[in-house]
Point group: none
Chain length 260, copies 2
C-alpha cells in the first residue's frame, strides 16, 4: 500500500493530471478508431474494432484509477492527508489482464495470417500475456519484498517468451507482408518491446528502496506514459497498417479487374 | 446476509477488482458484438444482437454489484468495517432472470432451425431457465438452511431439464449444421454445462458451513469467472459460429450463382 502522506501537493496534483490525460488520450483514440473503422477493408475491421476496445477498456480503468486517487487523499491546509482509503493500484492489473492479450491479438489480426495461424498465435501469445499479468499480481499486492522478487521472476518467463515470439517468431510472417507495411509492423513491434520493458523495471522500484513521494510520482506518471505508447500510439500504428494494406489490396483487385 | 467484517482488506479489494474486471469484460464484449454484427449474414444478426444484449445486461448488473460492494464497507485503519448497508447479492438473480433465458435463445437462433422449432425450443428452454432462477431466489434470501435446501432441489428440476435438452435434445439439430461449425456448437454447449454446474454447487456453500472471508471471496470471484465464461466467452463462440455459417452460406450462394 502506498503511503500517500509522503506526496507533496504538487506531486499529488501532477499524478492526478497525468491520469486525466491518460483517460482523455485513451477515450479520444477509441472514438477515432471506431469512427474510422469502415474506411479500412472488411478483412481489417475486426482488428480495428479490437484496437478501439483496448483503448476503451484502458479509458475505463483510467477513470477508476483517477477516482481511487482522488478518494485516497484530502488536501488540508496545503498538505496531502491520507483519508485511510487505500489507492487501488490493482486496477492496472485488472486492465492489463484484458488489454495486454488483446494488444497482441490486434497485431496478429492486422497481419491477416492463415486462419489456423491466427488462432494458434492468438492463443499462445494471448495466453502467455494473461499468465504474465496473473503472475505479477501477487507480488504487487504482497506486503513484503520476498514474494515481489519471486513473482517478478515467474512473470518474466512468459514476458521473455512473448518478446522472443514477437522479435524472432513473427519474422517469417512479416516477410510475407506487403513491402510498404513491413517497416510499420517492425516499428509497432519495437514500440511494444520498448514500452513493455518499462513495466518490469518499475515493478522492482519498491524492492530496491525507491519509495516516497518522488518514487510514487515517477511510477504512476511512468506507467501512464508507457500505457499511452503501448495502447494509443501502438493502436494508431495498427490503424495505419490496416489502411495501407486495404489500399494495397484494392489496388491489386482493380489491376486484376482491368486485366480481365 | 454476508458478514462483511470477516473479510480482510486484501480479500475485499480482490473481490472488488474481480467485479470491475467483470464489468469491463462484459462491456467490451457487448461493444465488440454490436460493432461486428453487420459482418455476419442478415440471418444471424438477431442472434448477435441478443448475444450483445446479454453481456450488456450483465455489464449493468456488475456495475450495480460493484457499487453495492463499495457501499457495504468502509476501510478504516487497515481493516474492513461494515457500514451497515448490506451487500445486495440479489442483483445476480435479477441479472440471471433476464440473461439466462436469452443465452439459450442465442444458441437456438444461431443454429437457424425451422421457424416453428425455433419458437418451440426458445419457449421451453427459455421458460425452464426463468423458472430455474425464480425457484432459486427464495432459497438464496432465506435466513435459515431448510428453505435453502428445498429451493435448491426445486430449482434443480428445470436445471436438469435444460441440460438434458442441450446435451440430448439438440443432437439431431446439431447433426444438420454445416460440418465446420458442429464442433464449435458442441464446445459452446459444453461451456454452458461446465460453467452452469458451478452455480448450484456454490449455492450450497452456506448450507455446508462454508462461511467467512475466504468463502465469500471464493463465491464472488467464482460467480464472476462463471459469468464471464457463460456469457462473454460463450457469446464470442456464438459470434464465431455465425461468421463461419455466413461464410459457408455465401460460399454456397456464389457457387450456386456460378452454376446458373
Amino acid at each position: 500500500m502506498l503511503d500517500m502522506g509522503t506526496l507533496s501537493v504538487g506531486q499529488y496534483n501532477f499524478v492526478g493530471n497525468a491520469f486525466s490525460f491518460g483517460l482523455a488520450v485513451m477515450a479520444a483514440t477509441t472514438i477515432f478508431l471506431w469512427l474510422m473503422r469502415n474506411e479500412v477493408a472488411p478483412a481489417y475491421r475486426m482488428a480495428i474494432t479490437i484496437t478501439g476496445l483496448v483503448t476503451a477498456v484502458a479509458a475505463y480503468h483510467y477513470l477508476q484509477i483517477m477516482m481511487s486517487w482522488n478518494a485516497a487523499v484530502d488536501i488540508s491546509s496545503g498538505a496531502v492527508v491520507s483519508t485511510g482509503e487505500p489507492f487501488n493500484q490493482a486496477y492496472r492489473y485488472v486492465d492489463w489482464l484484458l488489454t495486454v492479450p488483446l494488444l497482441l491479438v490486434e497485431l496478429i489480426l492486422v497481419m491477416k495470417l492463415t486462419q489456423s495461424e491466427t488462432w494458434r498465435k492468438s492463443l499462445t501469445l494471448g495466453g502467455a500475456a494473461a499468465l504474465m499479468i496473473i503472475l505479477g499480481y501477487p507480488g504487487e499486492v504482497a506486503e513484503s519484498l520476498g514474494p515481489r522478487f519471486i513473482f517478478w521472476i515467474l512473470s518474466m518467463i512468459p514476458f521473455l517468451y512473448i518478446l522472443y515470439q514477437l522479435v524472432i517468431g513473427l519474422k517469417d510472417s512479416i516477410s510475407k507482408q506487403p513491402e510498404n507495411v513491413q517497416q510499420l509492423i517492425k516499428v509497432a513491434i519495437y514500440l511494444v518491446v520498448a514500452s513493455w520493458a518499462f513495466y518490469p523495471i518499475v515493478y522492482l522500484f519498491p524492492a530496491i528502496g525507491l519509495t516516497g513521494g518522488a518514487a510514487v510520482t515517477a511510477v504512476e506518471v511512468g506507467y501512464t506514459v508507457a500505457d499511452i505508447v503501448a495502447k494509443a500510439v501502438f493502436g494508431l500504428l495498427i490503424f495505419m497498417i490496416a489502411v495501407r494494406k486495404s489500399e494495397h489490396e484494392t489496388g491489386k483487385a482493380s489491376t486484376a479487374a482491368k486485366k480481365s
